[in-house]
């Protein structure tokens, strides 16, 4: 019971100026109260069950249009520094794709990946996980990504939660593909139907807005494999904004970008990079902390605006 009370206090503090979803999802819109909340949250970690990780996404290292982001060469660096200055280091950090900006030049692609890896290596955490985005992997079917970051789909366990990283970008048609779906079915078969599962992807696994490539070609078949499991949550990138969606009992949460924001699905005739707002620098950019409340099978999301992190 003590843990429950602490947890509520954590949410209350962390939610100053924000909102808490009744679906079991805490969402922080502002950075206020984070330090106090963190101090309380630390007290919950003794049981070795609860944990938190940071999701960074869509850093597009190599992009260089100052009208879109005049700080294109430092935004990722500042995000890394912000993570390193969190009151408590996360258990791990995951990048959910589009680490680099696409280029047809394979040598330049590798140069960007090398630079990205060096910057990501400054993260003061024990573990950093990487997923590919279509900008990293679609033009060479993941070859360069594999050279720098290893396999593009894999599983790992952390404090009782099974993480499944899926690759829906190495196929330029944006599909997971039959072979990987077979692999996924095999991995899921090892788990109980009530196992805690977090799926990490780049593209949404549901049809968010297919006209803007905001979908996975065989996402429906992937969801069919996941739906029999009662405790599945999906974190993804690609759409450069926060979006929450539910398929049956499975929640999908997209993350903000670290380079440019995109418009809401279908809100404009064309999907365009939203230009830099000089009155609100870093508007729409940020990263996320995910706190796993194992006892209540919930994930509390806290969004860190880059406008705060860059100060």
């Amino acid at each position: 019971m003590e843990k429950h009370i602490d947890r509520r206090a954590f949410l209350k503090l962390a939610g100053i100026g924000g909102a808490v979803f009744v679906s079991g999802l805490g969402l922080l819109q502002h950075a206020d109260g984070i330090a106090a909340a963190r101090a309380l949250y630390r007290g919950n970690e003794a049981d070795g069950e609860d944990f938190f990780f940071v999701q960074l996404s869509d850093s597009h290292w190599g992009f260089s249009n100052p009208a879109i982001n005049p700080h294109y060469g430092t935004t990722l660096v500042r995000a890394v520094e912000a993570v390193n200055h969190l009151p408590q280091a996360p258990d791990f950090v995951v990048f959910t794709g589009d680490l680099t900006q696409t280029t047809e030049d394979g040598s330049e692609r590798r140069r960007r990946m090398e630079q990205f890896r060096e910057i990501a290596g400054r993260l003061a955490v024990k573990e950093v996980r990487f997923l590919a985005g279509e900008h990293d992997a679609a033009l060479d079917e993941g070859k360069a990504f594999h050279e720098f970051f290893g396999p593009s789909f894999y599983t790992f366990k952390h404090k009782g939660v099974t993480f499944i990283a899926l690759d829906n970008v190495s196929d330029p048609e944006g599909a997971v593909g039959e072979g990987q779906r077979r692999w996924l079915a095999g991995e899921l078969a090892k788990l109980s139907r009530s196992a805690a599962i977090i799926v990490l992807t780049h593209l949404p696994l549901f049809d968010l807005y297919p006209s803007w490539d905001w979908a996975t070609a065989d996402g429906g078949q992937v969801m069919e494999l996941l739906l029999p499991y009662s405790n599945v949550t999906v974190f993804y990138g690609h759409i450069h904004q926060i979006n929450h969606h539910t398929t049956g009992h499975i929640n999908h949460h997209s993350a903000q970008s670290l380079m440019w924001p995109l418009p809401a699905p279908g809100s404009l005739p064309r999907k365009i990079q939203l230009p830099w707002d000089t009155r609100q620098p870093y508007k729409g950019l940020g990263f996320r902390e995910v706190a796993a409340d194992r006892r209540h099978s919930r994930y509390d999301l806290r969004e860190f605006p880059m406008a705060e992190a860059a100060k």
Binding site: T102, T103, L139, P172, G174, P210, S211
Partner: protein, 122 residues
């Protein structure tokens, strides 16, 4: 030995997903249809604006000059891959007047996001 240019008929229209905005009928004698040839290459379709007549059968023929691309119009429920060395075809009878966007749905490089066009049904 040089492999001859293959003519592959691909009717990949996603009939089940066709939008109510523009229901499409596909069964008609090929000889009665207008043929519109569309070329894909990084990062454009040519032509990028396709004018069609309502109720007039048409075959959209696609080829690519460089790499694999895709043609997708979610509003019309049309989709086909466009692969090197092949001709893909979509047969349709436009039933609803309007302007409908299409785009390349195969990530093809730095200008992929701009590879799009419109079908105007008059």
């Amino acid at each position: 030995m040089r492999v001859p240019h293959r003519m592959v008929v691909t009717v990949a229209a996603m009939a089940a997903a066709a939008s109510a905005l523009a229901p499409i009928r596909q069964a008609f004698p090929a000889s009665t249809a207008q043929v519109v040839h569309i070329t894909a290459r990084r990062f454009q379709f040519s032509p990028s604006v396709i004018h069609l007549k309502r109720s007039l059968p048409v075959v959209l023929e696609f080829t690519t000059l460089d790499r694999k691309h895709g043609f997708k119009s979610s509003l019309l429920g049309l989709h086909t891959a466009i692969s090197p060395g092949q001709t893909s075809r979509i047969r349709l009878v436009p039933n609803t007047a309007g302007t409908f966007t299409f785009h390349c749905d195969v990530f093809c490089g730095s200008g992929h996001e701009e590879m799009e066009g419109t079908i105007v049904i008059e």
